[in-house]
């Protein structure tokens, strides 16, 4: 192809944290970039000075009930089944639906942005295999990634403190000090410490002080699930604004990519085709194509075309975080509606102790690993009201507010082991509004996740009782046991952490991308989202997604960041 036929150096599919991180680095290196985003733009003006649009608001109806940020399950359904024996699917609708909007899931995440630990990148070498799972080492190490972690913490703006004894080493301090603890977290962190755990203030991509031209958070409480009306969350608006200001980057909303175009050899991508707002087909030709459509849509796009899949690993090894929810009811109000949804955390169940090792051995497993436990609360009244049901008791239940005012919750983001049979593929019957087959999840947890969850639940309940809870209860997502089909969170995993569906590795036969995030089959096709994760680790994924995406872009432009050392 002649250079004059090209529209840009790189076309990026998706404008979430991963696409934004890639675009930020590429444009800073002087590359021209076009970002195609399926969803609508409510994030920032696309003309200078690229200010906020003002569409975000503290409006539960709009954001939670009416799918303002997309996807609407009517026009973009997904399907779920536990195993092939379930038939085509068990349910149709909302399955791990991260927003489809300019900014992707970054817009409405409440943005805990922890790093992974050193060990997470070489789990197979450190702990060894587990039967029935595919535990591997990553082809990159924590040392490789540290400079990019530090860069992404600065670009998104992360507030935190270095008090977590289990955290990996850092080359510098957090860009901002931590924000205020929610009252419930003051109680639960104090109780966790008494029980011998090591709580710390969760690193959060929310301004605790004015930062990068954006104001400090004012604790409005409509955080997880909502766009921030005052731009106190930086990920990814800060990065996308810089991309636009560079003059080298363009964002095209309502541009649904339907095909990656390849040359005759099949080994070289020439660009993408997309449907615009009016469903007219358009084309962008570029030297590089970067998929940043999220770990659900990236494999769906590749599977539709059968691309980059000589390893048969596209869509496989689907990992979530196996979530354990332990909630406690308090005899007094905790006003969990004030603050950033989650302000505290502890990592003890990732590292483990003798009791955890015994629990593994008793279950015949060589080891088990849990995940970061979020200390959080709150919730809005429409969702609460739906739980109490209709009738004369309704208003009293709402006034007592067991769920909104007097509840405190632990969510453990438990490590989920890769299994080839857990996968995303194409549903044979259900379609989206464009007529394309819906993505389908087939997923069953490994015993590792269940044993770990059963071990952690009683510990977490003990902490909540120590904090003052009158009652406690533990459940999981996906739900287990006899009442699984009745879970208010649904039968599918409710996690918004989706990983592994185009895994990274050293061997083209068993992985989809190499250590620099390029697909083995198509050299100028890169994958920037969490599809590339080799393991799930027990940490919220987004900072690691961004660090990997940033690293891939630095390597592509031959501008790698210098190696770092502990500060």
């Amino acid at each position: 192809m002649n250079a004059s036929d090209l529209d840009c150096d790189a076309v990026i599919v998706g404008s979430g944290p991963s696409g934004a991180a890639v675009a930020d680095v590429l444009t800073a290196a002087g590359w021209s970039v076009i970002i195609l985003e399926k969803g609508r733009n409510h994030l920032l003006e696309l003309e200078a000075p690229f200010g906020p649009i003002g569409h975000y608001s503290n409006d539960e109806l709009k954001f939670v009930q009416r799918h303002f940020l997309g996807p609407d399950p009517v026009t973009e359904p997904r399907t779920f089944r536990r195993a092939e024996s379930d038939g085509d699917h068990l349910m149709v609708g909302h399955v791990n639906a991260l927003p489809t909007t300019v900014g992707g899931g970054g817009v409405h995440a409440d943005s805990k942005l922890p790093r992974f630990r050193e060990e997470d990148f070489h789990l197979r070498s450190a702990l060894g295999p587990i039967d029935g799972a595919d535990v591997v080492d990553w082809p990159v190490t924590y040392e490789d990634l540290e400079p990019y972690y530090a860069e992404c913490e600065r670009s998104a703006g992360v507030a935190g403190e270095e008090t977590n004894p289990f955290a990996a080493w850092r080359s510098g301090p957090f860009p901002m000090p931590p924000g205020p603890d929610m009252y419930g977290a003051v109680l639960s962190m104090g109780a966790a410490e008494k029980v011998g755990l090591h709580p710390y203030r969760a690193p959060t991509g929310v301004n605790s002080v004015p930062y990068d031209g954006r104001p400090a958070c004012v604790n409005c409480g409509f955080c997880g699930g909502y766009g921030c009306p005052i731009e106190a969350k930086g990920d990814p608006v800060a990065l996308l604004r810089r991309v636009l200001r560079s003059g080298k980057g363009e964002i095209r909303p309502e541009s649904h990519v339907v095909e990656i175009t390849v040359d005759r050899s099949g080994r070289y991508a020439t660009g993408v085709r997309y449907l615009d707002r009016d469903r007219n087909e358009q084309e962008v030709r570029a030297t590089h194509v970067v998929l940043a459509a999220g770990a659900f849509e990236t494999p769906r796009l590749l599977l539709r075309q059968g691309l980059a899949n000589s390893s048969d690993q596209v869509g496989r090894n689907l990992m979530y975080h196996f979530q354990t929810f332990t909630v406690g009811g308090f005899p007094f109000p905790l006003h969990g509606m004030r603050g950033r949804s989650v302000t505290g955390a502890h990592d003890d169940h990732i590292v483990g102790d003798d009791a955890q090792r015994r629990a593994a051995a008793d279950a015949g497993l060589p080891w088990i690993r849990g995940g970061l436990v979020e200390h959080g609360g709150g919730g809005q009244p429409i969702r609460e009201a739906l739980v109490y049901g209709p009738g004369a008791h309704h208003i009293d239940a709402m006034r007592d507010s067991n769920l909104r005012e007097r509840l405190w919750a632990f969510t453990m983001q438990g490590e989920d082991l890769a299994q080839a049979s857990n996968r995303i593929d194409l549903d044979p019957k259900i379609k989206d509004a464009w007529g394309f087959p819906a993505g389908r999840v087939t997923y069953l947890p490994h015993p590792h996740e269940l044993v770990m969850s059963e071990h952690a639940g009683p510990i977490l309940e003990r902490v909540l009782r120590e904090a003052g809870a009158e009652w406690t209860i533990t459940s999981t997502s996906p739900p287990q046991g006899g009442d699984a089909d009745l879970s208010p969170l649904g039968i599918a995993p409710a996690s918004y952490h989706i990983m592994g569906t185009c895994r990274m590795g050293d061997d083209a036969a068993t992985s989809v991308v190499d250590s620099s995030s390029r697909t083995w089959d198509i050299e100028n096709l890169l994958i920037a989202d969490s599809s590339v994760f080799a393991t799930s680790a027990g940490y919220n994924p987004t900072l690691t997604i961004m660090a990997l995406a940033s690293r891939a872009a630095h390597l592509l432009t031959d501008t790698p960041l210098p190696a770092t050392t502990p500060h």
Partner: protein, 184 residues
């Protein structure tokens, strides 16, 4: 009282009585108006689906909720399917036929009877209990949305639903101070 947008006057009265049985006070606080505005959302331009932002104006800042946002083409398909149903329109029928809320409410309200509002509470409850479960679920979900959603959508008049449960609603741009967050 102004006449309803999509419901008939009689349907509106029936629905208001139903709402008060599901959530005491919801009907009086406009829950039937909420459903009426939802069913008639497409008689406005832009359709009254997504309220604007960033602030309601109740806690400072310029009030923006009444500047309704336009729908994109795909959003319009989704909301027309929900409200009007697929009605054999090819672009709405990608997963087969769907009966919309308009038709379901019309049928449900007819089943409940035009005299429902004048019946004793026990009779009202008896008729509501006999409804199809899917329809009852639909109405209850709308009752919750109406009574605890922002007043701009037609229910929760003057924040009556929020006041009844001690909920502060939206608080931006004022927000909460650090002390209000961290202390009892």
């Amino acid at each position: 009282m102004t006449s309803p947008i999509w419901l008939t006057q009689g349907e509106h009265e029936t629905l208001r009585a139903v709402m008060d049985r599901l959530i005491p006070g919801a009907g009086a606080a406009g829950a039937a108006d909420y459903v009426d505005l939802l069913l008639g959302a497409f008689s406005f331009d832009p359709p009254r689906i997504f309220a604007g932002g960033p602030f309601s104006g109740r806690h400072g800042g310029e009030a923006g909720f009444e500047r309704w946002l336009d729908l994109g083409p795909v959003e319009e398909i989704a909301w027309r399917i929900r409200i009007e149903g697929t009605k054999d329109v090819p672009e709405r029928s990608f997963n087969g036929p769907v009966v919309g809320w308009q038709d379901r409410y019309r049928a449900v309200l007819a089943t409940l009877g035009a005299d429902l509002a004048s019946q004793p509470a026990e009779e009202q409850d008896r008729r509501i209990a006999e409804l199809d479960e899917d329809d009852r679920t639909m109405i209850f979900e709308h009752a919750c949305e109406a009574h605890y959603g922002d007043p701009v959508y037609g229910g929760n008049v003057d924040g009556a639903g929020w006041k009844a449960i001690g909920f502060d609603g939206d608080v931006l741009p004022r927000g909460w101070t650090d002390a209000e967050v961290s202390e009892p």
